[in-house]
Every structure is written in C-alpha cells, then in structure tokens.
C-alpha cells in the first residue's frame, strides 16, 4: 500500500513525474552507453590485436599508430620496407617467426574497398585461430579469401576470378577462411611474389609481423630489433604498448565523459529531489491526515522514498532500454568521431553493465529521495493539518 500511495502520484502529476523520469532516463542512457562503449572498445581492440597474431609490428618510418591502424584494417601504404631487412629481423634472438606482408587496397566507384595481402607461409604460424577450407596460396595466382569476400562475390574454391582493381589480372581461389569477425574476413591473401608483381613492388614489403618465443622478453627483443642494421630504417612497434596507449587515450576521454555523465546524473537527481520537495509541499495536508490516522514517521518517510525509487527505477529501465536500442546508432556515431575504431561493435551490451546502471540509478533515488522523505516524516500532524496547499 505504501508503494500504491507512491505509484498513484503518477496519476496526479503525470507530466511532472514524466519529466523527472526522462531526466533520469537520459542520464542513465548516457552512462550505460559510456560504460558499454568502454568495454566494447577495449575488447574490440584487444580482439583485433589477437587476430593479428603478432607481438611486434615492423613498419616503415612514421607514426606507429597509423601503421598499426593500416595493418589492422587494410589500406594502401604510403611507403615501403625493403624485403632484405627480413633476414636481419629473423636473425634477432627471441624472434620465433617473422611474416612479411605487402598490402595494397583499391576502392571502386561504389566506395567498396578490396584489400590484397601478399604473404608467405610464415603467416600461418601467427594465425593459430584461422580455420580455412582448401589450401593456403602456394602456386602462382592462388587466392585465399576472407569469409566476407567469398560471400559477397559468391566465389568458390577452384573458381578462377578477375581481381577487382587489377586490370585483367586473374587468380584462382585456393582456399576460403572461416568467418572470424575480424578484418581478416575482408582481405584477399595471395603469394608475396604475386602481390609484388601485381603492385610493381618487387623486393618491397609494407610491414612485417613478428611473433616472439617469449612475450615476456618483449622489451629486450624490441631493443635488439631497433639496434640491428635495419632498425634505423623501420618502425618497431610493440603491439601491447600500442594497445595500452590506445586504451589510455580512450580511458582519459572516457573519464572526461564520465564526469559529464555524473553531472547529468546529479542534475537528474536534483530534479527528482525537487519534484519530491514540491510533492511534499503540495501533500502536506495529506501527510497530516496520514499521521492523524496513525502513520509513523518511518511510514511517511517510506511513501516519499518509495516515490523517489520508483522515479529512478523507471528512469533507469527506460535509460538502459534507450541505450540498448540505440547501440547501433551510437556505434556508428562513435566510428565517425574516433580516429581508430575496431572492426567489431564498440558498444558492448551486457547484463553486468545494465545491472550496474540500474543499481546506480536506485542509489541516486535513495539519495535524491532522502531529504524530501525526511522532511515529510518530520512534519508534526497538527502543523501539517494546518498547511495550505491541496486539500487531502
């Protein structure tokens, strides 16, 4: 009944209650999106680096973040490494595998991108998670297709196809990768020598993926790679450092956004508190009547406290629903804003985040409702009965 008394307030002041709830809902939606984005982004970046299968990326001199982004997502590179560096890299102690890559990309008139990667069999040692049908490119013109490429073009193993962006060049599909939910799904792998021929980059590479014998020796190996003869000509990028740098940047941005969301939550809480203060003022006579009928201080407190919890509870559920429903749009918007975004969804909808938001909103309700409820409960019946305002 205490809950009923609070619930019925919605019938009396639907607009005021709805506006307060909307404030909470928007703040909770922002909080949910921010938390979901944080998890999604970190998981997405980590996933992509895991799919790359390397501990260190060797790229031409320039920005290491750009190089990582190019290697992860596929693009045409502005400069190249000499293939001859490969032997020096492989000679460094601690290097288990060094897989050379020559990457190039073409964008057709419709804006669709085709990414080619010239690779050798060393790549297989890095891609332990790959499941492929057919065989890895071994003979001239062999192609290994990412799952999305095969599906979109309806290409099958054994089929000879014209290669998009390469005038007249043809290849034969030797294998197709199982879907991996990563950038690999959109790549076309071919032999390194074929790629060098097609793109007229003989003796050149875009990057080298390096896997270490012991990842704990990362700093030592990176130091040795930098000090080898080729080290001066290339960028040695430890991917875990990149991950932590990206994570740090994103976390700093998130912390700033979180402050803004917290302010929004405080404002929403103040709105709830204000709504209840007005309700206490309007219902002072009712409070007096309830006290006269035998309601204890605690029971009056619960009536208004329950109202705050209801406001914030409904607001939280609405906010989480908004966040969840708009996750795709939020993801698209974030992709347009961020310089680097992972292939997978960056807004990770999950129950722990949802539960945390709802509990947070209930805590907000507890705090926002505390003062008005306390004020209501402290009214003495005789004083409350004399109050002006709505007649009970």
């Amino acid at each position: 009944m205490i809950w009923l008394l609070s619930l019925r307030e919605w019938q009396r002041r639907p607009l005021r209650m709805s506006i307060s709830t909307l404030g909470v809902a928007l703040a909770v939606a922002a909080l949910w999106s921010l938390l979901a984005f944080g998890r999604g982004y970190r998981d997405g970046v980590q996933d992509e680096l895991d799919h790359l299968g390397a501990h260190v990326l060797l790229a031409p001199k320039g920005c290491p973040y750009d190089a990582t982004s190019l290697a992860l997502h596929g693009a045409s590179w502005p400069c190249y490494l000499k293939a001859a560096y490969l032997n020096q890299v492989r000679a460094v102690p601690g290097v288990a595998k060094a897989a050379p890559v020559l990457m190039n990309a073409f964008i057709d008139d419709s804006g669709a991108q085709t990414v080619y990667l010239g690779v050798d069999s060393n790549l297989l040692a890095l891609k332990g998670g790959w499941h492929l049908s057919g065989r890895f490119p071994t003979f001239r013109g062999d192609l290994l297709l990412g799952a999305d490429v095969a599906r979109k073009n309806d290409w099958h193993i054994g089929q000879t196809v014209s290669l998009p962006g390469l005038n007249g060049a043809r290849g034969t599909v030797s294998g197709i990768l199982a879907p991996s939910q990563s950038a690999d799904d959109g790549f076309i792998y071919t032999r390194l020598s074929d790629a060098q021929t097609w793109f007229q980059r003989r003796g050149e590479l875009t990057h080298v993926l390096v896997r270490l014998r012991d990842p704990d020796q990362l700093d030592d190996v990176v130091a040795q790679l930098r000090s080898c003869g080729a080290g001066l000509e290339m960028n040695v990028v430890p991917l875990s450092h990149i991950f932590h740098s990206i994570e740090g940047l994103v976390n700093a941005t998130r912390a700033l956004l979180l402050c803004i969301v917290m302010v929004a939550l405080l404002v929403a809480g103040a709105g709830v508190s204000n709504t209840l203060m007005i309700a206490v003022s309007e219902r002072t006579r009712e409070i007096g009547v309830m006290r006269a009928l035998g309601a204890k201080h605690g029971e009056i407190f619960r009536v208004f406290w329950a109202q705050a919890l209801q406001l914030c509870g409904v607001g939280a559920i609405a906010g989480v629903s908004i966040g969840w429903t708009a996750a795709r749009e939020t993801d698209a918007w974030l992709r347009a804003q961020l310089p680097y975004s992972p292939h997978n969804s960056m807004v990770h909808s999950d129950w722990p985040t949802t539960l945390a938001c709802i509990l947070g909103a209930m805590l907000l309700g507890t705090m926002a409702g505390g003062l008005p409820a306390w004020r209501a409960s402290c009214l003495t019946p005789s004083v409350a009965m004399r109050a002006r305002g709505e007649r009970a």
Partner: protein, 273 residues
Amino acid sequence: MACVVFDAKRCDAGAGRTRLKLVGENFPAVSNDIKMETLSFAVEADGLTRIYKRGGEEVRALDGVSFRVRDGEFVSIVGASGSGKTTLLNLLGCMDAADRGTLRLAGHEVGAINERARTRLRRDHIGFVFQHFGLMPTLTVHENVALPGLFGRRIWPSRHQKSLDARADELLERVSLAHRRNHRPHELSGGEMQRVAIARSLLNTPRLLLADEPTGDLDSATGESIIELLQELNRDGLTILVVTHNTALAAIAEHQISLRDGRLIQDSTDQML
C-alpha cells in the same frame, strides 16, 4: 463486570447498558505496548494549557482547561473562532502536546508516553473526522477506508489484507456507500465524502471519535444526515467529541463544552464555571 467501572446512572438508564455491551464487544483491550483499561472516562483533561509563540509573543491558545468525558458520551465543543477548539482537538487526538496540565485518554496519561506510543494510541483508539474530509484523492473509496489499517503493519501485509478489505467493505455497507467502493473521492458528493471519512475513522474500532466541524463543508440537508450517522454511532457506544459551529449538532450533544479565548467557560455537566 464492566458495568462496575461505568457510571451507575448510565447503566440504570438502559441506553448505558447497550453502550457498555458494545464497548466490550467492539473495542476490546488492544495489546502492543499500550494496555487498554476499561475505565468510566474516555477523556480526563486537567489544566490543559497550550502556548504558541508568534513573533516573540506568547499566545495562550488553551489556558487551564479541565473536563471529563465518560465512555459513550456525545460531546460538543463550541466556541468562536480562535477560542481554542482546534487546539484542544489536536491535544485530544495526540497530534500536539500540552505545555502544562495532564491528559488521560483511554486510561493512559498522554504526557507520560513517547511519540511512538502516542502514534500507536492515536492509531488504535482514536478516530478522526475532518471538516475537509481528508480523503486521499488518488485512492479509491475502498482504499481510503482501508488506509488506517495499513499503518503500523508490515510492508507486505498479504494475510492482513483480506481481513482489512472485508472490514472496509463492512464499514462502507454501514455508511451506505458500498456501491461507491471503486470510485475516487472527486466523484463523490460532499456528504458521501464525509461518510467515507467516517467509515475510515471506524476502521480500527476506536474508543473515541474526534470530529472537527464534520458538517462545516456540507449543506444543511447533507449535514443532517451526517449528524444522524454520528448519533447512530454514539447509540452503538462510541464516544464522540465534535467541534462545531452547527447549533443543531451542538444541541443534540448530551455534554456541551464551551470555550472562549482558550478558557473553558461552560461545561454542561458542571453548569457555568
């Protein structure tokens, strides 16, 4: 047994016997911390004084008011505006505390019990009827009547709820408003609202009913029906104290108390003071 503690004249009068029986049946001793005692006086006020401070100035709203009300009496409290009627009613309803004097309600000295016990005393032994009815606008008629039964209970009174519903229905039958059970207060006439308020005041089978201008917001015909209902309740043994300007209502009371400037100027049982 109970007759011994009641006034002998009343028992002899016959009507008093009826009252006595009903008091014994309908208003049994209630446990909790407060033990009901079957006494001949429902109210014993001795030198009640209430002083308010307004702008640094002391205002004696009540000044040494003493009177007694026997169980089953119908008492009217009359006086001009500002004479202290409402202040007295607040004290009798345990909604305010006297600055001086003693007040015994249902055998309990109000000044000696704490706020929680006063709330319990109010809930279990005192019914209220207000001039402006005091109905919760968002609750139905039935929910309004059941409201006092929800206070002092557990948060989820599932078992209690059935008997509470039945009691509320019974009271609505008694005030002839069973057909309005699911209506909201704003759908009722003034007389119906006051009947609902009276039904609500009876929910916890009080020993004492305090009514503050119960006909004040009603037209004369509707007011008369409310007066009849109060008389009927009094005939069933309920002690009623009414603050009123309504001369018809004041006239039917067997015991009249008049106040002026916070002082008791006439108590019909003691004649002029």
